[in-house]
């Protein structure tokens, strides 16, 4: 019987099926099952602790969310939307700026790009802990710099006006390198002949950017805006480490996490209902963004 790297011909027939079955089983176990369980739990008052009863209650969590606790739900959705818009706009702008600045072919620029991309590989908890220390009004360097330059003090993450913008800034710092890479890939796909023709027509740098670079970067913009918006929609870990959700920073993701998993008070049922709201929000915003960005690509 002929042999090859993957065994006999008879065993090779099973390889395509195994290739489907193994990831398929993984998806069923770690994708579909938790999703269905979340839908199920959202109709219960389940504490989430092993062995405790499900306490099926129908639509009680949904009713509560849109009646007695509507202020909490809408409040956290408002913070989430502010966060998504702020982070998406800022990260796209910073990423594009960095891409335009560092789209050069030399070793030095490769090092710069690697340094800017590096925060992406750190865990959110590590980045959060580092910035919590940097922004500590007593032990961190940020206060000393602020005081040295302007003679003022700030409580940074303990300020109702500053906490949310600072968390957004940390998010942008962490992921701007990723956006930069997408834009650099986009920039390298623009033929240089287009710029040469524009230069012959007397176009300046600003005009070339506005009429050539920006329109031709539309596919890259679609990708980066969509990914950034989707990523920041579910943000909770960075907020949890930096502010614990205090000072007006409680996103829907954090509200869900604390409701579902806070030791001592956790109610997985209510948290699951918030996860369903998060899902709906993601579908609506993600779908709208894709529609608008695709239409924009065609128009440009």
């Amino acid at each position: 019987m002929p042999r090859c790297l993957f065994g006999t011909n008879r065993t090779r027939r099973w390889i395509p099926w195994a290739s489907i079955a193994i990831p398929g089983a993984g998806w069923l176990l770690f994708g579909l099952y938790p999703s269905l369980a979340t839908i199920g739990y959202s109709f219960t008052r389940y504490s989430g602790l092993p062995g405790t009863p499900l306490n099926v209650c129908g639509t009680c969590n949904y009713t509560t969310a849109f009646t007695s606790l509507s202020g909490e739900v809408w409040g956290s959705i408002g913070v989430t939307l502010t966060y998504v818009v702020g982070v998406t706009v800022a990260q796209t702008a910073v990423g594009l700026g960095l891409a335009l600045l560092l789209n050069r072919r030399s070793r030095a620029y490769t090092v710069y790009r690697a340094l800017i991309f590096m925060p992406q590989i750190f865990s959110v908890a590590v980045v959060g802990a580092i910035f919590a220390l940097i922004l500590d009004p007593f032990t961190g360097p940020a206060e000393k710099i602020l005081h040295g330059l302007f003679g003022v003090t700030s409580s940074f993450l303990g300020s109702n006006g500053l906490a949310l913008p600072l968390v957004m800034a940390v998010n942008v710092w962490m992921f701007a390198g990723y956006t930069m890479l997408i834009y650099i890939a986009g920039l390298r796909n623009i033929p240089s002949s287009v710029y040469e023709a524009a230069a012959l027509d007397g176009a300046g740098r600003l005009r070339m950017f506005w009429h050539i670079t920006w329109p031709l970067l539309a596919p890259a913009t679609t990708v980066t805006v969509f990914l950034t918006a989707m990523g920041s929609l579910g943000e909770y870990a960075l907020v949890l480490v930096l502010t614990g959700g205090n000072f007006g920073t409680r996103t829907l993701g954090l509200y869900m996490f604390t409701s579902a998993f806070n030791a001592g008070t956790s109610q997985l049922g209510y948290g699951s209902m918030l996860a369903m709201l998060q899902f709906v929000l993601t579908v609506v915003i993600g779908g709208s963004l894709l529609f608008l960005l695709r239409r924009r690509e065609i128009q440009l």
């Binding site: 606790l69 922004l135 500590d136 007593f138 303990g158 109702n160």
Partner: protein, 450 residues
């Protein structure tokens, strides 16, 4: 002809089986599963003093029980890490003795509220914790206190091992007060006068981890002292219950005079805090406070942080007292908060060993060491925490202490305001006035209970 079994898939199958066995916590061969070798698993959140003590106790237990290995699992309480660990240990049915925060009676809201129990209260209600009421070692503890902290329907489902002064605990620098001829204040007016004097001398009176809301302890302390005025310590559970019922029925609210007065007093105290304190986290506050021996006379914190403060500045001559919230020294009693409680899940693989471990823990000499390691208030009658220099004030003034009052019942997901004022929004740390905050809290509570 016998069918030939392909070797590579067979090898893969065996490898898969080994991985699966490893994931399931099994071992191949008989040594680990032999009857005379047992592993007792203890789980506890990370508190340096408590962990050190537990490790020592575990060594003692292993010496007394040849063949038994005690495994200690730990995680910090910050960012939900402890919750995740304790849930996974319960899920895997691999933990024998586990630390939990005492649920208190507030964890069991009446059926008419339709509020399902959460945390350890949910485990008790579902019969997932062993009733320890009749265990011999429970005789070492005050039964009333244990029942209030972790009792339900006549059973006692844990050992309340640690209690702390949480509402209004104030650490102070003895030498700094002595330098300006100041005494530990016994009334609210005296406290304000001491703060005034310190400020005139160029000392910022108060430091606090405002980012984590530790300033709320002052408000809680005042409310507790006012509501427990003239009441016996044993009445605390009834007072809490009656208040919860009155809130539920709409007969009381966060906008009542007692809370308005407490808020006004709180705001006056907040005038003396370090202006940037709202950005300070609880993790760094004790260290920053301890390092500045000549400034910040007071630190608003829980009494559990003594060892952390001492490690940050071993030369600091420190102690703590309970915030005097009223104008009468006699009414300014200490409110004690139940904290670490050892529980035994019904799924514990070594229940008998777990009881023996708790019995060893409860022995007077060991419990005395536990008190010294954790800075806890004793839950064993006849024993007091005399091993730490900063317990002097409490040992002199703690005889009429009472269990801290628990908050009115609120459903899961309710607004922060529903459980009382949101101190991050209340002036001077936030920008909202007392009137706005209390009206918002009252409305949030009413709305949250439907």
């Amino acid at each position: 002809m016998r069918p030939r079994i392909p070797r590579r898939p067979l090898a893969a199958l065996l490898a898969g089986a080994c991985v699966a066995a490893g994931l399931a916590g099994c071992t191949v061969g008989g040594s680990a599963a032999s009857a005379d070798k047992q592993t007792l698993t203890i789980a506890e959140w990370t508190n340096p003093g408590a962990i050190e003590f537990t490790k020592e106790l575990n060594k003692q237990f292993e010496k007394q029980h040849p063949g038994v290995t005690v495994k200690l699992q730990q995680a910090p309480t910050a960012n939900g890490a402890w919750g995740q660990l304790s849930n996974s240990l319960l899920q895997s049915r691999s933990v024998d003795v586990m630390a939990q925060f005492a649920p208190t009676q507030a964890g069991f809201a009446p059926a008419y509220t339709k509020i399902a129990p959460a945390g350890p209260a949910a485990l008790i209600a579902a019969d997932k914790l062993v009733d320890l009421k009749n265990q011999p070692f429970m005789k070492n503890y005050d039964p009333t206190m244990q029942a209030a902290a972790v009792g339900h329907n006549g059973g006692v489902y844990g050992v309340l091992a640690a209690e702390y002064v949480a509402a209004g605990a104030i650490w102070y620098k003895k030498d700094l007060l002595a330098k300006y001829g100041l005494q530990v204040p016994t009334t609210y007016q005296e406290f304000i006068a001491v703060c005034d004097t310190l400020r005139k001398k160029g000392v910022t009176p108060i430091f606090v981890a405002g980012k984590d809301g530790m300033q709320g302890g002052v408000w809680q302390g005042i409310v507790n002292q006012v509501l427990m005025k003239g009441k016996r310590a044993g009445d605390a559970t009834t007072v809490s219950h009656d208040r919860a019922v009155a809130f539920w029925k709409g007969q009381q609210s966060w906008n009542d005079p007692v809370y308005r007065d407490a808020t006004a007093r709180y705001q006056k105290v907040m005038r003396y805090i370090e202006p940037s304190a709202s950005g300070v986290a609880q993790q760094t506050a004790p260290g920053v406070w301890a390092a500045k021996a000549d400034d910040y006379a007071f630190l608003l914190d829980g009494s559990w942080d003594g060892l952390t403060i001492q490690q940050a500045n071993p030369k600091l001559n420190l102690s703590f007292f309970s915030f005097p919230g009223t104008d009468s020294a006699a009414d300014n009693r200490v409110a004690i908060k139940p904290d670490l409680t050892w529980v035994v899940p019904t799924t514990a693989p070594n229940r008998k060993l777990a009881m023996e471990w708790l019995s060893l823990f409860s022995q007077k000499e060991n419990y005395q060491k536990w008190l010294a390691s954790t800075g806890s208030v004793s839950t064993q009658p006849g024993l007091s925490n005399t091993g730490l220099p900063w317990m002097d004030w409490l040992n002199a003034h703690g005889s009429d202490s009472f269990p801290i009052l628990t908050n009115p019942w609120i459903p899961a997901g309710a607004a922060i305001d529903a459980a009382g004022p949101d101190f991050s929004k209340l002036a001077p740390i936030g920008s909202d006035s007392a009137d706005t905050i209390l009206k918002r809290s009252a409305a949030a509570y009413r709305k949250s209970v439907g």
